[in-house]
Amino acid sequence: MSAASELEASMQRISDIEAVKRLKYKYWRCVDNQRWAELRTCYADDAEASYMSGQWTFSGGDPIVDFLASSLTEIRKGMEERGEGSSGHLGLQPEVELTSPTTARARWVASSGEGALYYEDEYVKVDGDWKIQRSDNYSGLAARF
């Protein structure tokens, strides 16, 4: 392998890790701002997702976004009725690992309101854009204060 092609491979890895992180930031922005059409662009068409240790599972980008839109709209309505304002995810500590030129996985932790959420994600590069292929989350600490 020539020095230039090694350099290019290394550059590609850094660019891909950047793009994967940015995808997840976009995901949280869309969730917190109820931007459902834009949220759909975060997912591969055949994505799979589970929430809260498998309490809810979905196959396909459309069913996943339909679930998030309806459940989060309901949660927000309840919060507004209680005068609690809106949610805001704070995603931290990405461990992004490229598993091939077009696949990656990552672990994240997010704080949201009074709890911690852990994510284990898989990503796929489709026509140059990274998408969420699979996302499983489970809850850590949940505390009221």
Binding site: S2, A4, S5, L7, E8, M11, I14, S15, E18, R22, Y25, K26, W28, R29, D32, N33, G85, S86, G88, L90, G91, L92
Partner: protein, 170 residues
């Protein structure tokens, strides 16, 4: 065959993204710790900020922004208020060699030791940046507010600041 021009462009974009992240962090550390020269160095001379004052009526010019912030700090301190900014989730677009934009998620915390209250605001910052010479500068910040919450914090107490230590170690 590797195209070295293409590679150079991609390295530059990654460099620029990192420089813009550092710029935002430096700016917010400056605001939170009273480093007004540092704040000034992060701003383009014609920078505008929607973050403070009336929405839709941005503060115009780097000097005016620094004047506003440095004028507000002693007032907060006199009222026993401490505050800090947390910026995260940057979505940075480098649009040309000299222009970039970003969306940041911002959490602002304010703790009032006299009133024993806490306040949290969450917002998105819609930033534009310009590269002047070798350095990226903030050109404008727009604001989309998400929430503004206040609650009683009867046990609120401050740990003495480590500002001097931070400055010594810089």
């Amino acid at each position: 065959m590797t195209n070295t021009d293409d590679l150079a462009t991609r390295i530059r974009v990654l460099d620029d993204i990192e420089a813009i992240r550092q710029l935002k962090h430096r700016l917010l550390h400056g605001i939170d710790n009273g480093g007004w020269e540092q704040v000034r160095s992060c701003l383009a001379p014609d920078a505008t900020s929607d973050e403070f004052g009336d929405p839709g009526h941005p503060i115009e010019g780097a000097d005016a922004i620094v004047r506003f912030l440095s004028g507000r700090a002693p007032d907060l301190e006199a009222r026993g208020i401490r505050s800090f900014h947390l910026a995260h989730h940057p979505e940075i677009d480098v649009e040309s060699e000299r222009e970039a934009r970003a969306i940041w998620s911002l959490h602002y915390f304010e703790f009032d030791s006299d009133a024993k209250t806490a306040r949290q605001q969450a917002a998105y910052h819609l930033d534009a940046y310009v590269k002047q010479g070798d350095d990226w500068k903030l050109r404008s910040t727009g604001l989309v507010n998400l929430l503004d919450a206040r609650w009683d914090a009867p046990d609120l107490a401050f740990v003495e600041t480590i500002r001097s230590e931070l400055e010594e170690n810089r």
